[in-house]
């Protein structure tokens, strides 16, 4: 009975507005999948038992969720990429990561409003801007205390978060903003693939490949990996570690910028959206192993699947409880992460 309900109009909205919905908004299954009324209402009305009673959903709906989960997982992987890189090299947990994403979101908004060009042209601009911002943040706040206890760096990056997010809030207000961009969806065998997220996933994969090639194939990348492995050793063989740190932080911020810049392609955004991505990005990074690139995407996929299937079958933001439980479990049992190991080696 449920499989009959995939009206055409629905899935266009799904991709643009609701999918990686802010976990705080009590997005019931009905809201999160606004386009799937019959399934959503069934789940909502009957609760978990009904789901258990239904046994398995139809293959089409299952495939639909699967697609959503992969797309969302890719975004989470992209969000976690810069975070894991800064951690791997500098041993700094960057609480400002989400705030940097927010700066990129509003950069895209301003850029496309001012120039009238497609937001896609704004993406490289935002990445470049965030690279510069990252270096400024590093030089002014992290560099002076890079040898201080870890807590100090955590507090300072949180201070940066407060300043950036408050600054955005003061300029743009806290109402949701939207690009008014409707990219539509592809339909493959009855399964809808929202194009905004598809582009975002494509960009994420290109970013992963690009960063990986840079780290593996260039001298600078090698210096970064060397610093990640052994900071003192890197210093002894003549690597300018503070410069490498600045570069790493800049690249990490640029990756945050990339993640922030693609999010407006499929989602409305507020200054608070960064926090919500940030917390789950921490989970992704720890699940995958702090400092591990492939781990970031594996962790991202895990979170993507928990979020999409969780919000469909558990309702509300209960999936966040599952996410944090998994997080705590991994922290305790295997803190080096599921893929473990040090950076990119």
């Amino acid at each position: 009975m449920l499989s009959l309900s995939l009206p055409d109009a629905c899935c266009r909205d799904v991709g643009i507005v609701a999918l990686p919905g802010p976990p705080d908004v009590p997005a019931s299954a009905a809201e999160a999948f606004g386009g799937l009324p019959s399934l959503a209402t069934a789940v909502d009305a009957l609760g978990i038992q009904a789901v258990l009673g239904i046994s398995l959903p139809s293959p089409t709906i299952f495939a639909q969720y699967f697609v959503f989960a992969v797309l969302l997982g890719g975004i989470y992987g992209l969000v976690a990429l810069g975070l894991t890189m800064i951690f791997g090299v500098m041993d700094v947990i960057n609480f400002a990561h989400g705030a940097l994403m927010v700066v990129a979101m509003y950069t895209v908004l301003v850029f496309s409003d001012a120039t009238g060009l497609s937001p896609f042209f704004a993406v490289p601009f935002a990445v470049l801007l965030l690279f510069v911002l990252g270096i400024i943040v590093y030089r002014s706040t992290i560099a002076p205390i890079i040898d201080a206890p870890q807590e100090n760096q955590l507090i300072v990056t949180f201070g940066v978060l407060l300043i950036l997010v408050s600054g955005i809030e003061m300029i743009f207000g806290s109402d949701p903003q939207q690009l008014g961009l409707n990219l539509g969806s592809l339909e493959i065998a009855g399964v809808f693939v929202p194009q905004g997220q598809l582009y975002a996933l494509g960009i994420a994969l290109v970013a992963l490949a690009g960063t990986w090639l840079f780290l593996q194939r260039t001298m600078l990348g090698r210096a970064i990996r060397g610093t990640a492995d052994n900071r003192d050793g890197a210093q002894y063989v003549g690597i300018d570690v503070p410069r490498i740190d600045a570069l790493t932080f800049g690249i990490g911020a640029a990756l945050a910028g990339l993640a922030g810049a693609v999010i407006p392609l499929f989602q409305s955004f507020t200054p608070a959206l960064g926090d919500q991505y940030l917390i789950n990005a921490f989970v992704v990074v720890v699940l995958g192993g702090l400092g591990s690139f492939p781990g970031a995407f594996v962790g991202g996929l895990i979170i993507g699947f928990i979020q999409v299937f969780g919000s469909a079958y558990l309702g509300g933001s209960t999936y966040q409880i599952v996410i944090f439980s998994a997080f705590i479990l991994v922290l305790l049992v295997k803190p080096e992460g599921l893929l473990g190991g040090s950076t990119d080696e």
């Binding site: 009590p26 947990i93 201070g159 407060l162 300043i163 408050s166 806290s174 200054p271 309702g315 966040q320």
Partner: protein
């Protein structure tokens, strides 16, 4: 430099070296706090220099001073940096309001049960994280995860209020009416003295720990845990004790929050930012010191609250917190309370130099 000033500095320096200096300073600050509601009406030449301080701002300041004081016992003394104290704060708030609102029990008993619950949750977090040797970033992230976990539990379980939380019940629904027994008052002044009482209790506990053998054990764990263990300090047990005490007292201002404001929601007591507001005064004032959390709270919260309430620029107060936070960590990581001693040192050095010149 004038002779009078250098003599005063010398005297202060000598006073700071006495064993009774800290208790005297603590008592003096608490007396000043008790007098502030009246001092703010005091006018000099027709101008009240503290006139901009509203009672509400002072109450909020003392709430965060109390949380920071409690946080300090675990994170400042013992060195286990908690980024998830909102868990204990929220448990105190929710337990109080749920028991009072649904069972009609006295909020005081609710607060006590909430504190016990918070201590148990703290013991659970501590037992898991210490057993598995989580340190540094991993420990901070784990505490944050435990706080976020509670936030989503309270958001998604309708019996626990869901996303919309609870309204504070009316005093006559469970007591004879407003008053100390009901934990509710008609004006702000009694609330002020109640939270000052909480702060006093937590401060005295903190001072007692600071001066006891327990305190020395905790400091030893902070400075070098393995060395402490090697000389026979049962580090695991003492870390757990620090977490439990800290969590227990963090629930008090949480309960106060629930009975002072009209509503509580997961977003007001479990939010990411609450974790920071709890520890902010301790960082600014001086981490690991008894006076730091109180001084720090008064350095930042009144300014932030004043800005928040006076200008309709949302976010400005958080931006100010951010700037102060960064400035303190970069330029004065020992906090504001270290400034007098630094000043004294500076003056001493200058006086010595002048003497050497034969002036």
């Amino acid at each position: 430099m004038s002779n009078a000033l250098s003599r005063a500095v010398e005297r202060y320096g000598a006073f700071r070296d006495q064993w009774y200096a800290l208790p005297v300073l603590v008592a003096a600050s608490l007396v000043v706090l008790a007098a502030i509601p009246f001092l703010r009406r005091l006018a000099l030449f027709g101008v009240a220099p503290l006139g901009w301080l509203s009672l509400n701002m002072l109450i909020v300041t003392l709430i965060w001073a109390t949380t920071a004081q409690a946080w300090n016992i675990m994170s400042g003394y013992t060195g286990q940096f908690s980024f998830g104290h909102a868990a204990f704060f929220g448990l105190g708030a929710y337990t109080t309001i749920i028991l009072t609102g649904t069972v009609g029990i006295s909020p005081w008993i609710g607060m006590l049960l909430g504190s016990v619950l918070a201590a148990i949750y703290g013991l659970l977090i501590g037992a898991l994280t210490f057993r598995y040797d989580l340190e540094g970033h991993y420990f901070a992230l784990a505490t944050l995860a435990f706080a976020e976990l509670l936030r989503y539990v309270f958001t998604n379980v309708p019996q626990l209020g869901g996303a919309s939380g609870f309204f504070r019940p009316l005093a006559r629904e469970y007591a004879d009416g407003p008053g100390l027994a009901a934990f509710q008052f008609t004006g702000d002044l009694p609330y002020y003295y109640l939270i000052l009482g909480f702060l006093t209790v937590v401060t005295v506990v903190s001072l007692a720990i600071n001066r006891s053998q327990l305190g020395y054990y905790l400091f030893a764990i902070r400075e070098r845990e393995q060395a402490a263990a090697a000389i026979g300090v049962p580090t695991y047990r003492y870390k757990l004790l620090a977490v439990a005490v800290s969590a227990f007292f963090t629930a008090w201002p949480g309960a106060f929050w629930a009975m002072y404001f009209n509503t509580i929601r997961p977003t007001t007591v479990f939010e990411l930012l609450v974790n920071v507001e709890i520890l902010l005064p301790a960082i600014v004032g001086g981490i690991g010191t008894v006076l730091g959390p109180i001084v720090g709270a008064f350095v930042i919260i009144p300014v932030g609250e004043f800005v928040r309430q006076s200008f309709s620029v949302p976010g400005l107060n958080n931006a100010i917190y951010g700037v102060i936070l960064i400035a303190i960590v970069l330029y004065s990581p020992k906090g504001v309370v270290s400034w007098p001693s630094r000043f004294v040192e500076l003056l001493r050095v200058r006086t010595d130099l002048l003497d050497d010149d034969g002036t």
